[in-house]
C-alpha cells in the first residue's frame, strides 16, 4: 500500500472503486512505468484532485479490440475507474446516446474543453481517395481527426492500427491506411501505444503520467513510452533460458513444445519486438498469461515492419542491440528480419582458465623436500671434502 500524506483527503470511493483498490491500482501503474512505489501515492493525489479530465475517443479502421482490452482489465475494475475517473465524453462503442445525439455531445465537449481534453485514436486512418473508406456521421475519419487534433491537450494512439497502420495497412493496403501520426502529417506529437491489443496498463499508465506530471513520458523514436517499450520481449522472456541452452520446439505439439522450450524456430518474433508483455502479462490471471507463455510464438504485433508484415513462421536474425535501448530506424526486412540482442554473457570464453594449479600443501611438501635434498647434498659435499683429505693422508702414509 503506497504511503500517502493526504490519503485521508481522498474520497472513500471512486464510483464503484474502493479507496483501497484505487491506491493499489495507482501503485501498479507506478510500477508499470518504472517509477518508485511512493509515486503511486502521488498519482493517486493527482488523479483525485482532477475533475474528471475529458477524453474524446475516436475510432477509425478498427475492431474495437483496444477498447475491449481496456474493459477486460479486472483488477481493480478499471472500466469503472476510467468511467468515473475520466469523463469519457465521446466513444462510439461505449456511448449511451447514438447518432445525432452522440455527435452533438462530442461537439459540446470539444467546445467546452478546448485545449484540455485528451484525444485517443483507435484504428487506422485510410488516406486513399481522400479517406472515403472510413466515414462517421457522413464525414471521413481523416477530416474528423484533422479537425479535432489541434484542439486536444495530448494525442494518444492506442493499438498498432492507430500507431502505424496495423492490420488495415498490411499489404496490399487497399485503403491506404496509416497511423494517426502519419495521417496528421507529423505536425502533432502523438504517443503511440502499439499492440494488438496493447496492454491496458501501458495505456492507463501513460494517461496517468500525463495527468500527474503534466508532461509526456519519455518516448522513443517511434513515439512509444520507453517505460513500456524499452526492452525486447526476448530479453525478459521466461523461455529465454531454453534459447540460451539451445532447446527449441521444432513443431507445434512436439516434445519440445510440450515441455515449454523456446519458440524461436517456430517463428517467434520476441527477439525483434519491443514490449513488456513477459513482465506485466495480460488480464491479471497469473503466470504464463501472455502469448509465448501459452505456447504461441510472438508474432510481433506491436512492432512496425514485423507484426502483420513478416511471415508468421519466418525466423528472426541477430543484430547488435544499441546501448540506448531504442530500436534502430527500420531497415528493409529480408527473410526473418533483424534480431536485436546484446552479446550473451553466458558463453565460455575462447581460453577459459582450466586445469589445476598448486595447492598450499603441495608447495609446502615440495619445498620441504627440496630443502632436505639440497641440505643432504650440501652435507654430502662437505663430508666428501673431509674424506678427500683423509684418503689423501692415507695415500701419503702408504
Amino acid at each position: 500500500m503506497p504511503k500517502c500524506k493526504n490519503s485521508q483527503t481522498l474520497p472513500s470511493h471512486f464510483g464503484l472503486v474502493s479507496r483501497r483498490d484505487f491506491l493499489k491500482f495507482c501503485g501498479v501503474a507506478a510500477a508499470a512505468m518504472g517509477l518508485p512505489l511512493s509515486m503511486g501515492a502521488k498519482i493517486a493525489e493527482a488523479v483525485a484532485a482532477l475533475k474528471r479530465p475529458p477524453v474524446i475517443w475516436l475510432s477509425g479502421q478498427e475492431c474495437t479490440g483496444c477498447t475491449e482490452t481496456l474493459l477486460r482489465s479486472t483488477h481493480p475494475t478499471v472500466e469503472s475507474l476510467i468511467l468515473d475517473l475520466i469523463s469519457l465524453d465521446y466513444h462510439e462503442a461505449l456511448s449511451t446516446p447514438s447518432g445525432h445525439l452522440a455527435e452533438e455531445a462530442k461537439k459540446k465537449a470539444i467546445a467546452a474543453n478546448k485545449g484540455k481534453f485528451i484525444l485517443v485514436v483507435e484504428g487506422a486512418i485510410p488516406m486513399k481517395d481522400n479517406g472515403i473508406y472510413c466515414q462517421i456521421g457522413g464525414r471521413t475519419m481523416l477530416d474528423i481527426l484533422k479537425e479535432t487534433a489541434p484542439l486536444a491537450m495530448g494525442i494518444v494512439a492506442i493499438g498498432s492500427c492507430a500507431s502505424w497502420g496495423g492490420i488495415p495497412s498490411s499489404g496490399p493496403n487497399p485503403t491506404g491506411a496509416v497511423g494517426a501520426a502519419e495521417a496528421l502529417g507529423g505536425k502533432f506529437k502523438v504517443i503511440n501505444i502499439p499492440g494488438c491489443p496493447p496492454n491496458p496498463y501501458n495505456f492507463l499508465s501513460t494517461v496517468l503520467y500525463i495527468l500527474t506530471f503534466k508532461k509526456l513520458p519519455d518516448l522513443d523514436n517511434q513515439g512509444r513510452p520507453r517505460f513500456a517499450y524499452r526492452r525486447l520481449i526476448h530479453e525478459g522472456c521466461e523461455r529465454r533460458p531454453h534459447f540460451d541452452a539451445g532447446r527449441f520446439a521444432l513443431e507445434y505439439d512436439d516434445e519440445g513444445h510440450r515441455r515449454g522450450w523456446c519458440l524461436y524456430k517456430l517463428g517467434c518474433k520476441g527477439p525483434e519486438t519491443y514490449n513488456n508483455c513477459p513482465a506485466i502479462l495480460f488480464g491479471n490471471v497469473g503466470a504464463r498469461s501472455w502469448p509465448v507463455g501459452t505456447g504461441c510464438p510472438c508474432f510481433g504485433c506491436s512492432e512496425k515492419g514485423v507484426g502483420f508484415t513478416a511471415p508468421i513462421a519466418a525466423q528472426a536474425s541477430l543484430v547488435h542491440f544499441s546501448t540506448t535501448g531504442t530500436p534502430f530506424k527500420g531497415e528493409e526486412r529480408v527473410g526473418g528480419g533483424r534480431l536485436c540482442l546484446t552479446p550473451p554473457q553466458t558463453f565460455p570464453p575462447i581460453h577459459p582458465p582450466e586445469g589445476h594449479g598448486p595447492s598450499a600443501a603441495t608447495v609446502g611438501v615440495l619445498s620441504g623436500l627440496t630443502g632436505v635434498a639440497l641440505g643432504a647434498g650440501a652435507i654430502t659435499a662437505t663430508k666428501l671434502g673431509k674424506k678427500e683429505t683423509e684418503s689423501d693422508d692415507k695415500a701419503g702414509k702408504e
Partner: protein, 381 residues
C-alpha cells in the same frame, strides 16, 4: 671370469629401510584409491595436461636415471674399456629398478590398464605410433636388464649347483644380451624425445625440434654416466667403503666430452631455428637454468685435477642429473601448453605416489647390494 664383486652383507631391515617402507605403504594406499576412483581423484592431470609427473618423472627421468647400465655397457663392451667393468653391476642394478618401476608407473598412469596387453598384439599395434616403439622397447629392455642382472643373483647362490649351471649358460649368451641391452635403450631413449614431435606448436620452440631424439639420447647417456658416479660416491659414503675415485674420475672425463657435444648441438639447433631464447619469459628462465646446470659439470670437470676431487665429481654429477631431469621436465611439462588457459601442478597424492616408487627403488637397491655381489670388491678400487 674373475670375481670382482661381493655382497655387502649386514641387516636388511634398518631404520632408513623402515622409513622407505612407510613411504611406500602410503603410496600403495593411494594407488589403490586411484584404481577405485579414477585418475582425477589422486592427480591434478587434466585434458590440457594429460601427462604429468608420473610420465615425466617416473618414466622419462626414471629411465634416464636408469641409463647407468646402458652407458657403462657402452663404455665397457663397445669402446672396450674393461677397467670400468667393476662399475657395471651396480649400474645395471640401478637400471633394473629405474626401468622396472617406470614400467609399474606406466600401468598406474594408463587409464585402461586392463587393455595394456594390446601393445603386444600385432593386430592392435599401430606401427606409426612413436609410443609403440617406446613401450615395446622399454618392455623388452626391462627383460634384458633382469637377464643382465641374473648372473649376479645366481652368483649369490654359490652352493646351488643348478644356479651355477644356469649362470654359465647365461654367460654364453652374454654378447647377445649386452648388444640388445645397448640397442634397446638407444632406440627408446631417442624415441622418448620423438614423442613430443607430434605435439607441434604445443611445445615451446625452445624445446620443439626435429633433433629431439638425438638430444634425448645424448642427455640420457650423460645421465647414465652421472648416475654411476653419483651412486658410486653415495654408496661408498653410506656403506663406509673406500671410494672408487680414479675410476669415476675417468668417467667424469667421458661426461665432459658428451656434455660438450650435447651443448654444441643444442645451441646450434636453437640458433639455426632462431628460437626465442631470451624473450619467452618464464620459459626462458627455465631454459637458462637447464643449460646452466649442464655448464656446471663442464666447468667443474674441465681439468683432470678437478676430476680427481670427489666433491667436484659429486657436485658435477648431481648438477648433470638435475640438468637432464630439468630438460625432460621442460620438454614434457614446462614448455608444453595446450593453450593459454591451462595450468598444471602435481597434486600431493600424485607426488606421494612418485615418492613411494622412488622408495621402492631404494629399498630394492639396498636389499640387492647387501644380499648379492653387486658392488666391487674393496681391493679392486
Amino acid at each position: 671370469m674373475v670375481e670382482e664383486s661381493q655382497p655387502l652383507g649386514g641387516k636388511i631391515v634398518t631404520k632408513p629401510f623402515l622409513v622407505l617402507a612407510a613411504l611406500a605403504a602410503v603410496g600403495v594406499v593411494l594407488m589403490l584409491y586411484r584404481y577405485l576412483y579414477g585418475l582425477g581423484a589422486v592427480t591434478n592431470l587434466s585434458d590440457g595436461y594429460p601427462w604429468g609427473i608420473w610420465i615425466t618423472y617416473d618414466v622419462l627421468v626414471g629411465t634416464a636415471l636408469g641409463c647407468g647400465g646402458y652407458a657403462m655397457a657402452l663404455l665397457v663392451y663397445i669402446f672396450n674399456r674393461w677397467e670400468y667393468h667393476p662399475l657395471v653391476r651396480s649400474a645395471v642394478l640401478t637400471s633394473v629398478f629405474g626401468y622396472t618401476l617406470a614400467g609399474v608407473a606406466i600401468f598406474l598412469d594408463i587409464g585402461r590398464y586392463w587393455n595394456g596387453y594390446h601393445l603386444f598384439l600385432p593386430w592392435y599395434v599401430n606401427f606409426n605410433s612413436v609410443l609403440v616403439e617406446v613401450a615395446l622397447c622399454i618392455a623388452a629392455y626391462v627383460g634384458i636388464l633382469w637377464l643382465e642382472l641374473a648372473p649376479t643373483v645366481l652368483e649369490g647362490h654359490q652352493d646351488n649347483p643348478k644356479a651355477q649351471r644356469a649362470r654359465q649358460r647365461l654367460e654364453r649368451w652374454l654378447p647377445v644380451i649386452v648388444a640388445l641391452g645397448i640397442l634397446l635403450p638407444t632406440m627408446h631413449q631417442s624415441s622418448l624425445g620423438t614423442l613430443m614431435i607430434i605435439a607441434g606448436y604445443k611445445l615451446s620452440p625452445l624445446w620443439q625440434t626435429p633433433l629431439l631424439p638425438l638430444l634425448f639420447l645424448i642427455s640420457a647417456i650423460t645421465m647414465g654416466f652421472a648416475i654411476t658416479v653419483f651412486e658410486s660416491i653415495l654408496s661408498s659414503l653410506a656403506f663406509k667403503r673406500p671410494f672408487e675415485t680414479p675410476m669415476i674420475a675417468k668417467v667424469g672425463g667421458v661426461m665432459v666430452w658428451l656434455i660438450g657435444v650435447y651443448l654444441v648441438i643444442r645451441l646450434a639447433d636453437l640458433l639455426l631455428r632462431g628460437a626465442p631464447v631470451f624473450s619467452s619469459g618464464f620459459l626462458s628462465s627455465m631454459f637458462i637454468l637447464e643449460n646452466l646446470l649442464y655448464v656446471v659439470p663442464l666447468v667443474l670437470l674441465a681439468s683432470p685435477a678437478y676430476r680427481a676431487n670427489l666433491r667436484s665429481l659429486f657436485v658435477a654429477s648431481s648438477s648433470l642429473l638435475l640438468a637432464g631431469s630439468l630438460y625432460r621436465f621442460n620438454a614434457f611439462l614446462v614448455g608444453y601448453s595446450a593453450g593459454p588457459g591451462w595450468t598444471y601442478f602435481p597434486a600431493l597424492p600424485e607426488i606421494l605416489i612418485t615418492l613411494s616408487i622412488v622408495a621402492l627403488e631404494l629399498m630394492g637397491y639396498l636389499y640387492f647390494v647387501k644380499r648379492y655381489p653387486v658392488l666391487p670388491k674393496a681391493e679392486h678400487v
